[in-house]
Symmetry: C2
Subunit: 340 residues, 2 copies
Amino acid sequence: MTTIVDVARAAGVSTATVSRVLNNHPQVDPRLAATVLQAVKDLGYRPSRVARSLRTRRNRVWALIISDIRTGYFFGAVVRGVEDVAYEAGYSLFLCNTDEDLAKEASYIELAVAENVGGVILTPSGPRTDLSPLVDFGIPVVLADRTLPGQQADSVVVDNVSGACEAVTHLLAGGYKHVACITGPLTTTTGYQRHVGYGKALKEAGIPLDDSLVRVADFRELGGQLAMQELLDQVERPDAVFVTNHLMTIGVLQAIADAKLAIPSDIAVVSFDDMPWSSLLQPPLTAVAQPAYDLGVESARLLLSRLEGYKGAARMVTLSPTLQVRGSSLPKSRVAARHR
Amino acid sequence: MTTIVDVARAAGVSTATVSRVLNNHPQVDPRLAATVLQAVKDLGYRPSRVARSLRTRRNRVWALIISDIRTGYFFGAVVRGVEDVAYEAGYSLFLCNTDEDLAKEASYIELAVAENVGGVILTPSGPRTDLSPLVDFGIPVVLADRTLPGQQADSVVVDNVSGACEAVTHLLAGGYKHVACITGPLTTTTGYQRHVGYGKALKEAGIPLDDSLVRVADFRELGGQLAMQELLDQVERPDAVFVTNHLMTIGVLQAIADAKLAIPSDIAVVSFDDMPWSSLLQPPLTAVAQPAYDLGVESARLLLSRLEGYKGAARMVTLSPTLQVRGSSLPKSRVAARHR
DNA sequence: GTGAAAGCGCTAACAC
DNA sequence: GTGTTAGCGCTTTCAC
C-alpha cells in the first residue's frame, strides 16, 4: 500500500506539501504541485479516508436510518433522494434498516457515533427514539417522514393530515355515506395524522365520527386484510374505505376480492401511497401520492446546510401529497349509470 | 469526547488493559475487567471505529454497489438480504447506487478503497466494469445477480435460462402457438440469458425460432409498451408473450389494455420477476419469482467466508427461480371452456 | 512557500 | 496479567 510518505519521497517534498496539494491549499508553488500530482498518479496513490477522518475529526459519511427499504417504493425513493444529493456533495451513506425495532435503531445510532459520521438522517421508529447520543456528540440529525415530540431537530414531513383529508373529502363528494378508515399504529405520526385527516374531512362535511368504521392496524398486508374482513362482516357495512398505506391496501383489496365484492359499486377504495402499478389494477386505484424522492432530497439539503455551518433553530419542511383520482373511487352517480 | 485514555485513568489502569477488556482478551483479571467496564459505563465511552480501523487496517464495513434501489422490489430485497447477514456479523454497509453508470460505479469502487472497506458486493453495470482497484488492495469482491467475463470473483446468480425456459414451456404446454418474447439489452447477462431460455423452450418443443416474435427492449416501462404495440400491430399477432422483467411488463399490460385485448383469451402473459401485487391484477399475473432476498443473503455469506480466511478458487452459487402460475396464462382449453 | 514534528484514538508487540 | 511504547496515515500548527 502506498502512503503519503511514499508520494512525498517520490516527489522530493515533505508530506505536508503533498497534503496541501491534495487539499487544494492556495499557497503552494504550481510547479511543485504538478510534481506531486504526477507522483500521485505514478504510484496510484489513494489517500486513506480513515486516517484523514481520524485526524480531522470530520467524516464525509452520513448514516441513513430508516425502517425497511423493502416495503414498497417509499423508502427506496427516499434513499435515492438522499443519495443523489449526498453523492453530489461528496458524501457517502451508511444504510441502516431498523425494522421499527427500537433496539436495532439504538444500535445503529451507536454505530453512527462510533463511526463519527458527519450527520444522520433518521425515520424514528417510535416516539421514544433516543437521539441523545447524537446530540451529545454534536452530530446533526434530520428527521425524515416522521417527527419526534419535543425534539430540536430539523425535519421533513409530508402533510399527512391534508392528504388524508383530501382523500376522504373526495369520497364524500362522490356520494359515499359510510366511509371507513383503516390506519396504522397511532403512536406513529403517519398513522395518527392520517387518521386525524380522516376525522377532519368528516367534520367539515358535518358527519359524526363513527368509531365502528375505524380500525387501527399495523401498516402491514395481513393487518389490512383482517381489518377489512372485520369491516365487511359488520351489520352496517361501509360503502367506501380509506386505507392509510399501500401494504395494508394490498390486504384490503385481497379481502374485498375474497368477499366477491366489486370496486367501487360495492365499496370504493382510496389509498395513501401511490404505487407505479396503481393504475394497472382493475379498476385503477385512487391514491394519495407522496413526494418520497423529494423528501429524501430535502432531508439531505437540511443536513448539508447544518454541515456548512447553519446554526439557526430547528426547521420543518412540509411537502404536499397529491391525490391521484382513478376508477376505484368513481362517484356513486356514475357507478349507478354504468350498471344500467 | 471521552477517549480510551480517560477510561484508563478513571479505572486506574493502562490503555492496553482497557483495550483488552473491550476486545474480550482472555488473559485479563475479571475484577479489573469489571472496574474498566464500570468506568466505560460511567463515562459513556464509545470506542472510535475510525481509530480502530486505522490501527488494525481492518474495517467492519462493506460497500454494496448496485444499480438502482428504486426500480422494483428486486434490489430492495437484495439489500435487505445483505444487510441482515451483515448486521448479524457486526458489519455495516455503504449503499452505492450506480444507475448503470460506469463512471459512477468506478467512483464508488474508489470510495471502497479509500474507506478501506472489508469487502464489496457488486452488481456490475456492464462487461467493462473494472475490479482492479479492489483486487490490487486485496479487498474481496462478490458479484451479485450478474457475472463478469474472465473475472476470478465469487458470484451469486439466478438461473435465468431455466427460469425463462420453464415460463415459455408452460405457455407452450397451455396450447399457445405463437409465443413472443420481449427481452432487455443482450449485453446484460440477464437480458441475454432469459432470451436464451426462451429459445431453449421453443427448441425442446420442436418449434422454430421466429425472429419476428422477438423484441429487444430496454428493461423499462416505455420500452416494453412500445415493443408490445409493435407485436400487436403485426399481421401475425402472437397469442402469448414472455416479458423478461417487471418494468417492461407494466408497459406490456398497458399496451394490451390500450388495444382493448383480453388476457389470456386474446393474449397470454408471463413475466420474469414476481411482484407482491402480481396476484392483485385482473387476471392475476403468472410470473417467474426470483429469490432476491436469498441472493443478498448468499452474497453476504460468500463475502463473510472470505473475510474469515477462505482462500479457495472463485465459487458461483446459482439460485433457482420458481414459476408462479396464475390466471394470465390459463391453458387455451380452459379459456375456451370459460367462454361457453 | 515549505518542512519538521506533534498527535488524532486506538491496538499490539514487547518487556516485566 | 499488566504497563510502556511505537506506530496506523494523515493534517496542521509552528518555525524558518
